[in-house]
Amino acid sequence: MSKPTGIRGRVWFKALTDQEKPMPGDPPSVLVADAPVGNENARLLCVVPDPNSRFPCASHGEVGLEQAYTLATRIREIIKADTTGSAGNEIKKRPFIAIVDVKSQAYGRREEIAGIHLAAAAAADAYATARFAGHPVITLIVGQAISGGFLTHGYQANRLLAFADDDVLIHAMHKEPAARITRRTVAQLESLAKTVTPLSYDVRDYAKLGLLYKLLPVSNPETPSADEISLVRNAIAEAIADARIGPTDLRNRFESEAAQTARKATRLIRARLEEEWNQ
């Protein structure tokens, strides 16, 4: 089974920022720091476990109410600071790097009472707003990226990077509950996933869907070598440069080479709707 979440998030946050503390006033589960990546000054964000979380259902690396609103706050303050000045001179929009190792959203009654859907929406909104404003938004998936946790933290990026590692898990739901809800055994689900690519839990299959910018060969994600850290830094810098020259929407995800095959139905719908729109 996959390893506990959170270890990798912390490791990579430290490796890329040389910091490990939350910003003043933020919960211990949200790490945010500004650090140089390539020749740019980026803001890096990561959600990590906090065993003493005020909200118990968000203590193992889940994205809960506090995590989502903290991310949104820390993204929006940069968007605001980088808005074109009164003189009209263009400010270079700083990149955001979301380091992702989230086991899920927080599954709690209090979370629902307090409207966690809006918290999640606010974080996704902040990331997307940053992207549309011209900030490169890069996501580095170092561990798990599951369901609402990933929608909240990371899935709005211009470019997605992930480690080619067996414990990297990008999915709509963990294997056991997904099997139960679709009335299958885990073995049946695994067997189906061999032919039905979007069901697969293997990041190498995920890469075939055309959503990823790059799969990175990192063999020790919990204890990365200096070479691996430098490889990741370069990949992020390259993704930032690529995002700066590309469109600010998410079309690259269904226009990519892999998507031509894997997302034929998406492309067919897009073509048909466009054709019929003005008839």
């Binding site: 259902c57 609103y69 706050t73 929006r76 899920s104 959203q105 599954y107 709690g108 009654r109 209090r110 979370e111 629902e112 009472i113 307090a114 409207g115 966690i116 859907h117 809006l118 918290a119 999640a120 929406a121 606010a122 996704a124 909104d125 997307a128 707003t129 992207r131 549309f132 369901s147 609402g148 929608l151 899935y155 709005q156 999915h171 709509a172 739901m173 997904a178 139960r180 679709t182 189906l192 032919t195 039905v196 690519t197 979007p198 069901l199 995920y206 869907l209 959503l211 929407d249 998410l250 269904f254 997302r263 139905a265 998406t266 719908i269 048909r272 709707l273 466009e274 019929e276 729109w277």
Partner: protein
Amino acid sequence: MREVIFSREYLQRRSFIELSARDRAESLFDSGTGRELAGPFDRIESPWLAMQGVTPQADDGCIVMRGTIAGQRAVVIAFNGAFQGGGIGEVSGAKLTTALDLACRDSENGQPTSAVLLLETGGVRLQEANLGLAAVAEIISSIIALRRYAPVISVIAGPVGCFGGMSLTAGVSSYIVMTPEGRLGLNGPEVIEEESGVEEFDASDRALTWSIYGGQQRYNQGLVDILVDDDIDQVIKTVQELITKGVPPRNRSEQVDVYRSHIAALDPSTKWNPADVSWSAASLARPIGRNQEVASNEEEHNQ
């Protein structure tokens, strides 16, 4: 109560929920202007369901219609909660995203086109797992692009409600409209019971479920803009008014400081009475979750 139940107004109501998804979409348009796009005769089905022995549907449970509402250009996207629980698959997700993108393109070119989402959905369709999740991310992005130019209105009318990733879709909308029968939340009761145990959430307790997710509660909390009865005329009138009103000065999901401070004021060490967790102007004066005794008494009363 009897006078209320048998009032003329009540008897003349026509249910919105009981309409099919296609009829719900059509009902919103100015008479005769609604035109379905990529409809069932285009036969673009999910390529993934048949591979798993699940029968696909010719419209993938998602209806896209274009026309005018209150004289303004609009597109309506309606989900059929009876097909795969309204779950978002590759095709239904792409229909919604593309409709939003085309509305955005027209809006950018000086022809504002509003979008109305009729959400009856449990979230991502698990049979299409990663492509469903990816579609939801794309939908969120496309709503945020469009809502700068024209309102995006989410209507949550039926008891299927709006859950999972699609609750974020509602969350980033310009406006949310609900009926008391509708439900809105990220994780449904069954999911919470499954993941966190029956002590956390007893999914069989229907009163508890509606006291948290129900349209009346979401409206009282200030998380929904307008509460309507399950009545076609009321839904039409509300959608027309919102389209006429246009883009709001600030979207709810942009008001991070406001909601972040609400969350900071909550005390998670106590048991909450859902009705106390409210951020409407009237209830903000009251402390939240501080009085466990009162909260649990009221809960018993609710049951």
